[in-house]
Structure formats: C-alpha cells, structure tokens
C-alpha cells in the first residue's frame, strides 16, 4: 500500500513537472542545496531538485537544454539536463565559483573564483580550462557582452571592473567603481554596461565603445536608512525602456528609466532582494529574496508586486527558461 502510494505520488510529480507545459523559472537556494522550479503560469513551485553545496549563480545554455549551477562549496559547476532535470555532468571550475557567464559561442564559460582572485575560462564541451586570469580580490560579478567581445568581471574588495578580451583572455582595462561591485548587465546591442556597487550604493553606466563611465546613479528609498540601500542584481527590458535594480537589504527594487537613468519608482519586495529575471514575454519580473526565503513576482506593465512564492532557504539566483 505504502509503495503504491509512493508510486502514485511519483507519477503525479512527474505529470506535474513534465517540461513544455509552461515557461519555468529556476531558483538556486544557497542554504538548502536545492533548486526550486516555478511554473510561471500558475506561479507555484512544482519541483525541488537536490544539487551540490551552496548553489549560487545559475545560467541557461544558449540552446536552453542545460542549466549550469555554481555549487560554490563543492568547488564545481554542475550541469543539469533540463529534459530530465538530473545532474548529468560537472565542470572544472576553480575554487569557490560564485557567478559565471556563458559566451554567445555556447562554449566558453567564464567563472569568477571568489577565494582565489582569478577568473577561470572553461570550454564546456571539452572541459578544458582555457585560461585563468588574475583579477582583483573577491571576483564576483561576471558578464559576457552579447556580441561576445568582452567578458567583464567585478572584484568586490578591489572595487574594479576588469575588462577581459575574449580572444586573448587578457585584461585590457580596469575601471574603478563604487565599493563592492556585484553585478554587470549589458544592453542587447552591447553598447552600454550597467554595473552595481553594493556598499557604494551606486550603479555605474559604462560606454562600452570607449570603456568609460558616462553616468553614475544612486538611490534613495524613503523610510530606509541610506546605508541599507545596496544595489546588487540588475535586469534590463529588451525594448530599452526599463532597468530593474535589486536593492538588497532595503527590500526594494528600483525601477529606472533606461534612457534617462531617472528612478521612476521603488517596489517593496521580500527581505534582502538579490537577483532578478524577466519571464519570456517580459510581462513579469521574478526576484529572489534571500532573508525571507521567497520569490516576488512583479507585473512589469503595472509596476506592482503581485505575488510572493515561498521557495527554499536563502534563494540566490533566478533564471527563466523562455522555451519551456
């Protein structure tokens, strides 16, 4: 009887989790060693997948068949097959991988190794380590420009953006920004890069052609102490209209006019908002809230928070598979 019940439950689970029904969001839970899978139609968690220790950065392969997971405390990058939702492989990553970014060629994975002050470049097909590049202390944010020309790494304690030439794997420029830079996001045309500085409380707008800062923004959330306004994750809409900036322990997401850099609104979400991602038609924005252990869903048209979804402990990263 017990076995029968188990089988039935399993069957239901499999039925529920059959990919292809709706667009799915994947959330890494840093202190639960799991991924939560959210159905973006129903906005419910449909499955929780066991992964390696301290999962943080996650990203999708360019063909949307795999999810790469930084299992920081296992010193490895895990590869999850999205069709079966099983870990099928691991990649050499260097020590303590935190964030990473995949080159548009779908092969070169740039990994920030926080404890070692290096960026490791791995070929995901051959598993060869192509390069290890010395950067500043506590490399964190990692982004490759959509045109594939630049890989940018932020080093938190050095407070720099390191611009790595993706052909030579050499640093060509270092730009000093605010204290504790965390994240870089490129516009679709690769012309502008947005970089957040957590302790500096700033977002820096970089002109990619000239590799120079053209604007610096700061934030003010009413009723929140200024030193708790700490920008981390950034997400840009593809129409160039909005930038969303997660402001960490201020528990707010800033809505920014991506053309004028004017802050339009601050939206209250869960506690310590960290990373964010748009769903496939860019109608909803999902944010991970580390301390409250949930994901907030923002309606992009109305700029309103419409739901919070309970996930695991300390949700860190979120990516939405647009093809599922």
């Amino acid at each position: 009887m017990k076995t029968l019940f188990k089988h039935a439950a399993l069957a239901t689970m499999i039925g529920l989790s059959t990919p292809g029904l709706a667009s799915l969001a994947y959330v890494s839970n840093e202190k639960d060693n799991t991924l939560s899978v959210i159905d973006t139609e129903t906005q419910d968690v449909i499955e929780t997948i066991d992964v390696g220790q301290r999962p943080r950065g996650i990203l999708l392969s360019k063909d949307y068949t795999k999810l790469y997971i930084c299992a920081s405390d296992d010193d490895t990058v895990q590869v999850l097959d999205l069709a079966t939702r099983k870990i099928v492989d691991t990649l050499p990553s260097g020590e303590d991988p935190e964030q990473f970014s995949l080159h548009p060629n779908n092969k070169h994975l740039y990994i920030a190794n926080e404890d070692d002050a290096i960026v490791t470049v791995v070929d995901v097909e051959t598993k060869d380590v192509l390069a290890q590049i010395d950067v500043g202390i506590e490399p964190e944010g990692m982004a490759v420009s959509p045109n594939g020309k630049w890989a940018v790494n932020t080093s938190e304690t050095t407070s720099m953006l390191h611009w790595i030439n993706t052909e030579t794997f050499e640093i060509e420029k270092n730009i000093v920004v605010g204290q504790r830079p965390r994240h870089v996001e490129f516009t679709r045309d690769s012309k502008i890069a947005w970089a957040s500085a957590e302790i500096g409380g700033t977002v820096h707008i970089i002109d990619v052609d000239n590799l120079e800062q053209i604007h610096e923004m700061s934030f003010k959330v009413s009723g929140v102490n200024q030193d708790r306004v700490q920008p981390v994750g950034i997400e840009l809409t593809s129409d160039g209209k909005y930038a969303f900036v997660a402001l960490g322990p201020s528990n707010h997401v800033a809505v920014v006019d991506a053309q004028t850099y004017e802050v339009l609104d601050y939206l209250l979400v869960g506690a310590r908002v960290w990373q964010l991602d748009l769903d496939k038609d860019e109608k909803h924005l999902y944010t991970t809230n580390g301390v409250s252990g949930d994901v907030s869903v923002i309606d992009v048209e109305d700029l309103k928070v419409i739901k919070s979804i309970k996930v695991g402990r300390y949700p860190w990263g979120v990516v939405i598979d647009p093809t599922s």
């Binding site: 303590d96 926080e114 404890d115 002050a117 500043g136 202390i137 506590e138 080093s155 938190e156 304690t157 050095t158 407070s159 720099m160 390191h162 640093i171 270092n174 000093v176 204290q179 504790r180 957590e198 302790i199 500096g200 409380g201 102490n225 030193d227 708790r228 322990p249």
Partner: protein, 393 residues
C-alpha cells in the same frame, strides 16, 4: 660618430622619453606602512584553557597589505609592511622612532592607551596613526588627537551593543560582576553608562575578589557569589579572561551570562559569515592558519582604509589621505553589511557590532528601533554631543 651609435643614442632617448610618458600615466607608487604591537602580559589567569594568539593584529595587517597589493597591481601601486612586535612599551616607542625616521608616515598601533598616546604625540601632524588595540573611552571623549584614528571599537560601542540587545530582549535586570584590572573597570564603567542609556537596572554590582583556583571550586563558589533575589542576566566584565569562563552554568539562578564571556559583543569573530565575510575569513585562515579575531580585524580595516584612499587619490600623502577618510567620498566595504565611515569629531570608525557565543552569531547591533538622526550606527558609543572632541573643528 658611427651611424649605429647615433641610432642607439636616438633609440635610447626615445626609450627614455617613452618610459617617462608611461610612468606619468601609470604613476607607480610605493607605500610602506608601519605596524607596532605591544600587548602587556596580563599575568596568570585562571580560566586560561584556550590562549589568545600572540600575533593578533599583526596577521590582520599582513592580510590587508596583501589585499591592497592585489588591487594596487592594476594601478601600479605596491604596498609593504614594516612590523615590530615589541616586548615593552619603551621598545614599541623606540621601534616607532626608528620607522618614523626612516620616512614611514602611516602607522597602525596595537598597544595600550599610554603607549599609543606617546607615539601619537611624537608623530607630529603629518603622520597618521590608526589605533587597532586600545578600547579606552577617554581616547574618544577628551584625549583626541587630529592625527589619531580608531578602527577598534571603544568599550562604550561594545557595551552599547549589549545594552541595546538586553533592552530589546526585555532582560532589563542584570547582575554585574567586575574583575580587578583597569581594563575590567573600563569595560564595567562603559556598561554602567549603557545600562542608563538603555533602561537597564543593575540589581547587583559586585567586584570579583576571589583568588581561588576556580578549576576546583567554580561550581561551589559562583552559585553563592551570584545569589540575589532575581535578575534576568549576569553581566561579566573580565577582559583578560581570568574567571569569566567559569561563570556560565554556575550562577545561582538559571540565567544567561553575557559580557566579556558567555555571549559577547565583539569587533570580529570567526562565526561572522554574512555579507561576504566568509571570503575574508577564508583568506585570513589561509594566511595565518587560525581564525581572525577583533585585533586582526581592526588592523586589517586600518590598512584597507588607507588602501581605499590611495586607490582613489593615487597619492600616499598622509594629509590627503586624512582629508579623504573624513570626506563623503570615503566608505569602507568591510564585511559588516554596511559601509563604514569615520566619526569626524573623534576619528572613530563607525561599525556594526556582532554579538556572538563561541560557536554562533546571536545578533548584530545596532538594532531596529534605536533611532538616530544621522546614522543608526551612532547609537553605539559616544555620540557627537557626548564627546568633547572636535578634531576636524
């Protein structure tokens, strides 16, 4: 002149000119920071089960030099440390004299207040001293010097953190035990002030006078010593760790023990791991082979503050560094979840204070609800109106 020689000469001139241009662009900068440590022997202690590391402070300074150098290599800046762990106050002052005469103008000092004051006075206006050891409140309330900054929190900052915590737990009746040393009295005085600030009542205020070896008698002596009709917590002021470790579980009433032992307000502790602190802890352990403590953190913060200023200024002039550290542009990212800045009236580094027990983090002050018009962090320690110091006019 043969033609090849002329060519070589021209080439050499071009090279010289080129290197001159390059050097102007990269502006290479070599900076040596002095570190002076003198920790007086605290005498034999009873509860000396786990000794304190003798290089506390020094290793933090070394880590910060490495951190600064990693950043500096992208900017053509190199940092080095000249350090002296002295065995007397005189030796510490002599080491300062030697380093100062050799041209060092930035110092981190981990020594008692008297030694620190002598060094600060000898240093003169164009030399900056960072205090990474002396917690005495007097250094922040009346005996301030324009060239002296503090990265170690004062006793008042620590006890205010504890006072806020006791207040928000509503454990407001406390039994205070104070050891015999000057440091114990300094800590206890600071706590009495905190008690007044945060509405705590000290129902018993007893000096520790026993000289028995508590390893044999703790379970017999302490219950009697802590007899009182009622209290919510026992507060221990035993800075050197003479008897305090024996107080928990040996009190007359079943009550928690807080203060210098039990749950303690500290500058830093191995259990702090949020806000990226895990990375700092790992880096430190790799360097020193032990956990990072409060003195290590204070020395690290001082040299990182210098590094942050030099990165921005591209200059190592003490006067310029000092101006920068007190300007709106300075903020230290120091793994405490907030940007740290210096109080402009007394040179104290503002910072959250973790409250820890030996194996875990309990809470972090300041707490919500304790309000301040400028920054909540100024609810910890002597605020501007309470200090006579005005080192920036």
């Amino acid at each position: 002149m043969p033609r090849y020689q002329l060519m070589r000469l021209l080439g050499l001139t071009a090279l010289l000119w080129l290197s001159l241009v390059l050097s102007v662009q990269a502006a290479p900068l070599q900076l040596t920071i002095g570190y002076i440590q003198w920790i007086p022997d605290t005498g034999p202690v009873l509860s000396n089960v786990i000794p304190e590391p003798e290089d506390a402070g020094l290793r933090g300074a070394e880590l910060a030099i490495a951190d600064n150098s990693t950043t500096g290599k992208f900017l053509g800046q190199t940092y080095s440390l000249q350090s002296k762990v002295a065995d007397s106050g005189e030796a510490a002052i002599a080491a300062f004299d030697t380093m100062h005469q050799s041209g060092i103008e930035l110092f981190v000092v981990n020594a008692p207040a008297a030694t620190l004051k002598t060094i600060t006075e000898k240093a003169g206006a164009n030399t900056l001293i960072f205090n990474a050891g002396a917690k005495d409140d007097a250094l922040r309330t009346g005996q301030c010097r324009a060239n002296l900054l503090h990265t170690i929190p004062s006793y008042a900052m620590l006890t205010d953190a504890l006072g806020q915590w006791l207040n928000q737990r509503r454990w407001d009746e406390v039994f205070l035990i104070t050891g015999p040393t000057e440091a114990d009295k300094g800590w206890a005085d600071a706590f009495r002030r905190s008690a007044k600030r945060f509405g705590l009542e000290i129902v018993e205020d007893k000096p520790w006078t026993f000289d028995a070896d508590l390893r044999r008698t703790a379970s017999r002596e302490l219950p009697l010593f802590t007899q009182a009709s009622d209290y919510d917590a026992v507060v221990v002021a035993d800075v050197r760790g003479d008897f305090g470790e024996y107080v928990p579980y040996n009190t007359w009433l079943p009550r928690p023990v807080v203060g210098t032992q039990g749950m303690s307000p500290v500058t830093w502790h191995r259990v702090v791991e949020s806000w990226g602190a895990a990375q700092l802890q790992n880096r430190f352990r790799e360097l020193a082979g032990r956990n990072m403590n409060s003195e290590d953190y204070a020395a690290w913060a001082a040299i990182r503050a210098i590094g942050t200023a030099v990165t921005d200024l591209k200059s190592a002039e003490p006067a310029e560094i000092r101006n920068f550290l007190f300007s709106d542009k300075f903020q230290l990212a120091a793994f405490k979840g907030r940007k740290l800045t210096f109080r402009d009236w007394n040179g104290q580094l503002r910072q959250p204070i973790p409250l820890v027990h030996p194996r875990g983090l309990v809470a972090r002050a300041p707490f919500e609800g304790f309000l301040h018009p400028n920054t909540q962090m100024d609810t910890l320690g002597f605020d501007r109106p309470e200090s006579e110091c005005r080192i920036n006019g």
